[in-house]
Amino acid sequence: MKKSLLIDTDIHHEIRSLSDLVPYLPDQWKRYITDYGWVPERPIPFNQIRKETKYRMDTRPEDGSTPGSSYELLKTQLLDKYEFEYGVLTGWFYEASVCNGWYEFAAARASAYNDYTVEHWLDRDERLLGSITIPREPEAAVREIDRMADHPQMKQVMLPISDFAWGDPYYHPIFAAAHRHGLPIAMHLSAIITAQGGDFLRYYVAWRSLHPQAYMTQTISLITNGVFDRFPGLQVSLVEGGFEWVPFMMHRMDSAYKALRQETPWVKRMPSDYFRENMRFTTQPWDDLNADQFMSIIGMMESEDMIMYASDYPHWDFDDPKRTLPSKIPQTLREKIMYQNARNFLKLS
C-alpha cells in the first residue's frame, strides 16, 4: 500500500485535570493545586449549545475523561484512521503563556506541561511531534526553550495569541532562542484572544468570526518590529486563524511600506516577501471554499508553499483530511498542503 503522505499541524492533546501536572511541579507549586484549590482563570464566558461544547461529540473517552486526554483514542480516531505520518501536538495549555504576573508559577506550569507531553505522548508514539510551551516572561521562556529544544520530537515553540503582540522587541529573546536552536514558531489562539478596535463582542459566533483580526495583528507586529530581519530564516506558522485574509494583508502592507518605510528602516524588504518566506498558515477551520475560490487566493499569494493542513482534533470544528481541500485543485498543490509544506516547516529529514 502506498504510504499516506499526511501531516497534521494542529492536534490538541489535553491533560485530564491539573492533577496530571502535579508530579512534574516543584514542591512549592504543587501545593497550590493539591491543597489550595488554584485553577486557571477562565477569561471567556461562552459555551456552545451542544453536547461537549467545544469538542467533537464523539471524542470523549469511555471513562468520561477530557476529550484529547486519551492517547489510545487519539491514536484510533486520528493517527491510525487517516494514517498520518506525523501529527503535531499543539496542546491546550496556553494560559501558562498568556497569563499576567506570577511568572515563576507560570514557568513551572509550562515546564510541567512539557514534561507531561514528553512522558505521556511523545515517548509513546514516534509519529507525534511536540510544541514547547513557554511562559510569557522572556528570561524564563528562554530557559524553557533551552531545556526542551534538544528533545528529538520537540519541533516548534508555541506562542499563543492573546491580547498583546509578540513582535514587540521585549519578546525578541524568545525568537533569538528559537532561532539559535533552529526551531520554528507556531502561534495559536488562546482563550484570551481579543479584537483590536472594538470592545468585547457579545457572542461566541462573533468572537470566533473575529479571530483572524488578532492574527493580522501578530503578522503586522512581527514584520514592523523587524523580527524576520533580525532572525533571517525564522519560520512562523499562524495556526487556526484562516488564510483568506493573507493576500489582502500582503498587498495592504506592501502599499503602506512604499510610502512609509522610513518610519521602520530596519524592515529591509517588501512585507509580502516576509509573508511568503517566513510565515505559514493552516487550513482549519476550512471555510467551505470551492476550488475556484481557493485557487484565486493561491494566485493572489503567488505561492503554493504558505498553507499547511491542520485537523484541530478533538475540537468541534475538526477538518477531516480527506474532505478538506476541494477535489478539483492540482495534485501537486494538494501534496504540498497536506504534507510537504509542513515537512519543510518542521525541518523533518
Partner: protein
C-alpha cells in the same frame, strides 16, 4: 418501538446504507441518511434538540414543533421531519426515508 422510546435515536445499516431512526418528542418517527452532507460523520453521534428561534436581540424561544438533529462535528442542524438544514433549507439537506410501525416493529423504506 420500545427501544426507540428510550434511546430516541438509533443508527442502523440497511442494505449497506447508513440510516438513523429518530423518535421525536411529539411522538412521530423519522428516518434520515446517517451521514452529514458536510464532512461525513454519522449524525447519530450527534444530538437531538429543538430549533432555537427569536425575533429580537436577546430573545430565545425554543420552537417545540421543530426538532433537529445536530451534527457531532460542526453543529449543522437538520429538521428531523424533512432533512432540510436550518441555515439553507433549499440547498443543504439530508435524505429522508418513509417509516412505518407494524405491531411495535419499525420499518424503514429505502
Amino acid at each position: 418501538m420500545d427501544e426507540l422510546g428510550k434511546v430516541r435515536k438509533k443508527a442502523l445499516v440497511i442494505n449497506k446504507r447508513p440510516v438513523v431512526v429518530v423518535y421525536s418528542e411529539q411522538g412521530s418517527l423519522h428516518a434520515l441518511r446517517d451521514v452529514c452532507p458536510h464532512k461525513g460523520p454519522c449524525l447519530s453521534d450527534g444530538m437531538l434538540d429543538k430549533n432555537c428561534a427569536g425575533a429580537m436581540s436577546g430573545e430565545y424561544i425554543f420552537d417545540r414543533e421543530t426538532e433537529v438533529l445536530r451534527c457531532p462535528w460542526h453543529s449543522w442542524e437538520f429538521d428531523i421531519r424533512t432533512g432540510k438544514s436550518l441555515f439553507s433549507p433549499d440547498k443543504i439537506r439530508v435524505r429522508t426515508y418513509p417509516v412505518t410501525v407494524e405491531e411495535g416493529d419499525v420499518f424503514v423504506e429505502l
